[in-house]
């Protein structure tokens, strides 16, 4: 029973901090979304929360501040995610921790649950994916599980709110978890020595035991954390440290060194988890078969890479061919909106400059951005989420680990590149899934080489323009092929530059690599598509719109304020002309990319504005501005490879805390792009 005193009865506080913990890929973020009413952007692509997300929910008169922490297997601190998780549970201000377990593979979840319970707070277990488990012939006895663990257990289906209601209702009455884990005698007596030394400090019984365990096996930083949590200083610290030394003396005498201590602790955890699972889980075999058979194709020696390329090309082809129609509708909708609001504004006698700013500036730019960007994004993001949901993504890392290892990096970089296809800022944050600091920086610095969703539409336009200008014609399959080639180019460059970096600035050998390959599961189409649209699309679109609207106004001002008969913008463009021509472009293009730093989506609208061209036919408009096939090709290369957008750069800085790395993230794609443009232009001048 609870002996902690103040936690003996029902919680009367009206504010409660609740932490959601769990293994990766158990539907923790989905549960978080359902709990919080799907209002929160969970923040990233791989189905993994790499940062904590928070939201507040009111149940009755209790206000729950819910924190969704990174998915982890343990609290033993191998990676950034595990450090964040452990700090939140053992040292955070969390009152309650809900451990989300996967009913289809309970042991791994129970291992974490036992570790969380050991930290001493109030704990509940959400037994998630019970529907999936049933389908696979696995049944878990929640009542028996609750009895074995000594904490409340709630079967849930994360995306169904009604299955979560009992959990929410019971939160208020939760009691601190009881001790269900005992280590071998030698360890228990060592823990006891340190435990006694901690007695003078006010902390719950269970947490004191946890601190004692971690003082014995933890490093310097762990000790600092515990001391500051308990308010230990000076004399007290010395006493505790000598108690730890005494504990080690005893352990050594029993033939237990540090390595053996860790092994014994891990074994006790795993065996207890096994024991509990054995008492509570019934399995009818079968189910791994499908995964095994699929893996023969999807990770097979001959078929793996062709299937990967095919899936990429197919995704792009579906995106392009379906996006054309809504793009055209949106473009004509905005054209109508422009006409109508222009008439209305002029009708009420608005001055010319106001009409200019609102219609030709804000609305026009907004229309360009939304019409060009929204449809491909609304198709691409859900398609990608479906791949993610099916369990295929980790196989990409598995298939590509060898080449990445040869480049001195980690296969998980492939996953962050996939995330980068959606949004580079998201990909850069996602690099936290890479354990080694050096390999994480390699992935961060090269992430912007993958064209994000803001650049894909621009590439499509430019590739189309290239085909038109060179007289090849167009057609969706050809554009999809061109786009696939561009992506293959950026993948090759990523390998090359990663290799160069790991031979020069970020020297080092590839570190270790462990990657779990989850069984394939049938994607839940509707909820996945819904989630992708409402969260990922909405947030990227909102950011683009928030940037495009004020920028549209600014641009219109720049282009309409004239000095000597020409707009300011044209002076800037012509000043850049000589530089642009070296790289096969012109000053206007360079200037558009410079102004486009807040968001890549607005580069083409800016360009059209500088040229003074317009209309719904972008390629046609560019054609009339003196473009040649070389211009289109060089601009497309530069669209693929130039400075990352400001959001990405800020994210690089936040992730690395290094000005040097941020500068490198800026320079690497820029220099690469300029060099390639220079080569293409030189070749064109020489040979044509």
């Amino acid at each position: 029973m609870a002996r902690g005193g103040k936690h003996g009865g029902r919680v009367t506080k009206s504010e409660v901090n609740l932490t959601l913990a769990g293994n990766p890929n158990v539907g923790k973020s989905t549960l978080f979304n359902t709990l919080t009413g799907m209002r929160v952007h969970t923040g990233n692509w791989a189905g993994k929360t790499v940062d904590t997300a928070t939201a507040t929910v009111k149940v009755g008169d209790v206000c729950y501040h819910i924190t969704d922490i990174p998915g982890t297997y343990s609290l033993f601190y191998h990676s950034e995610e595990e450090r964040v998780a452990r700090d939140c549970i053992a040292f955070g201000k969390g009152d309650i921790t809900v451990v989300v377990c996967d009913a289809t593979s309970l042991c791994q979840g129970l291992n974490l649950a036992l570790q969380v319970m050991e930290c001493g707070g109030r704990t509940a277990v959400a037994l998630n994916l019970v529907d999936e488990a049933k389908k696979r012939g696995i049944s878990v006895d929640a009542i028996a599980l609750s009895r074995e663990l000594g904490v409340a257990v709630f079967p849930t289906v994360a995306h169904k709110r009604n299955t979560i209601t009992p959990l929410l209702a019971a939160l208020e009455g939760l009691k601190p978890s009881e001790r269900v884990l005992y280590y071998p005698d030698a360890i228990e007596s060592a823990v006891d020595k340190v435990y006694r030394a901690l007695l003078p400090y006010g902390v719950e019984v269970a947490r004191r035991r946890y601190f004692a365990l971690r003082l014995i096996d933890g490093g310097e930083d762990m000790r600092e954390k515990i001391f500051s949590a308990l308010g230990v200083t000076g004399e007290g610290a010395c006493q505790i440290i000598s108690a730890v030394d005494a504990a080690w003396q005893g352990l050594f005498a029993a033939g237990i060194d540090r390595e053996e201590y860790e092994r014994l602790i891990a074994t006790a955890l795993v065996q207890r988890a096994d024991e509990i699972a054995e008492h509570t889980v019934k399995i009818c075999e079968g189910g791994r078969d499908v995964t095994g058979r699929l893996d023969k194709i999807l990770t097979g020696r001959v078929s793996a890479y062709p299937v990967m390329l095919l899936l990429l090309a197919l995704t792009l082809f579906i995106t392009l061919s379906l996006a054309n129609y809504p793009s055209a509708w949106l473009a004509s909708l905005f054209a109508w909106l422009e006409g109508a609001s222009r008439t209305a504004l002029v009708g009420i006698g608005s001055p010319d400059w106001l009409v200019g700013i609102l219609i030709d500036g804000v609305l026009n730019t907004l229309g360009e951005v939304v019409a060009v960007m929204l449809p491909p994004m609304a198709i691409f993001f859900p398609l990608f989420s479906l791949l993610e949901d099916s369990g295929y993504l980790p196989r990409i890392a598995y298939n590509l680990d060898r080449p990445f290892a040869c480049a001195g990096a980690c296969g998980k970089q492939a996953l962050t590149m996939c995330m980068g296809l959606g949004c580079n800022a998201v990909g850069i944050v996602g690099c936290r899934i890479i354990d080694s600091e050096r390999e994480r920086r390699l992935a961060i610095l090269t992430n912007s080489l993958m064209p994000c969703n803001g650049r894909l539409p621009m590439l499509i336009t430019l590739i189309g323009a290239f085909y038109t200008l060179s007289g090849v014609g167009g057609g969706t399959p050809l554009v999809a092929l061109g786009l696939s080639l561009f992506i293959v180019l950026s993948v090759c460059l990523t390998f090359l530059i990663t290799l160069l970096l790991s031979r020069t600035l970020l020297r080092g050998a590839p570190s270790s690599f462990t990657l779990e390959l989850p069984p394939y599961r049938k994607p839940r189409v509707l909820s996945t598509v819904y989630r992708a649209l409402t969260q990922k699309c909405a947030s990227v679109l909102l950011r683009a719109v928030a940037v495009a609207a004020p920028f549209g106004a600014l641009l219109w001002c720049l282009s309409s304020i004239t000095v000597g008969g020409k707009g300011i913008i044209s002076y800037a463009a012509s000043a850049l002309d000589p530089i642009g021509s070296i790289f096969g472009m012109d000053g206007a293009i360079l200037f558009a990319f410079t102004l486009g730093i807040p968001a890549n989506e607005i580069v083409i609208p800016i360009l059209l504005l500088i040229y003074g061209a317009g209309g719904t036919d972008t390629a046609g408009a560019l054609l009339s501005c003196g473009w040649t096939p070389v211009t289109a090709l060089c601009t497309a290369i530069f669209a693929l490879l130039h400075w990352p957008c400001s959001t990405s750069l800020i994210t690089v800085y936040k992730e690395t805390h290094s000005i040097r790395d941020t500068a490198l993230a800026f320079l690497i794609p820029t220099v690469t792009g300029l060099l390639l443009c220079l080569l293409v232009n030189a070749a064109a001048v020489l040979f044509f």
């Binding site: 291992n111 795993v270 060898r402 270790s512 390959l517």
Partner: protein
């Protein structure tokens, strides 16, 4: 010592029992968490297209390991 059989020596489809871990600390803890414990049965269930990493079935989960890391796990 170095004649001990390592996890890497398993061919696809073969299984073995774990004897111990010979690797640096962080990796050892990672392995322990994943369930690579003394006496556990582990089975090699597949190779990636280029032969490395390989996939191992341990305690109901499939985990991919590189050759270098798999060599740190010794088998009975």
């Amino acid at each position: 010592m170095n004649t001990k059989k390592s996890l890497y020596s398993l061919a696809v489809g073969e299984a073995g029992k774990i004897l111990g871990l010979r690797c640096e600390e962080n990796m050892r803890r990672r392995f322990l968490d994943l369930g690579f414990l003394r006496g556990e049965e582990v089975r090699c269930v597949g190779k990636s297209p280029l032969g490395d990493p390989r996939a191992y079935l341990i305690r109901g989960k499939t985990v991919a390991l590189r050759q270098r890391d798999a060599e740190g796990i010794t088998l009975e």
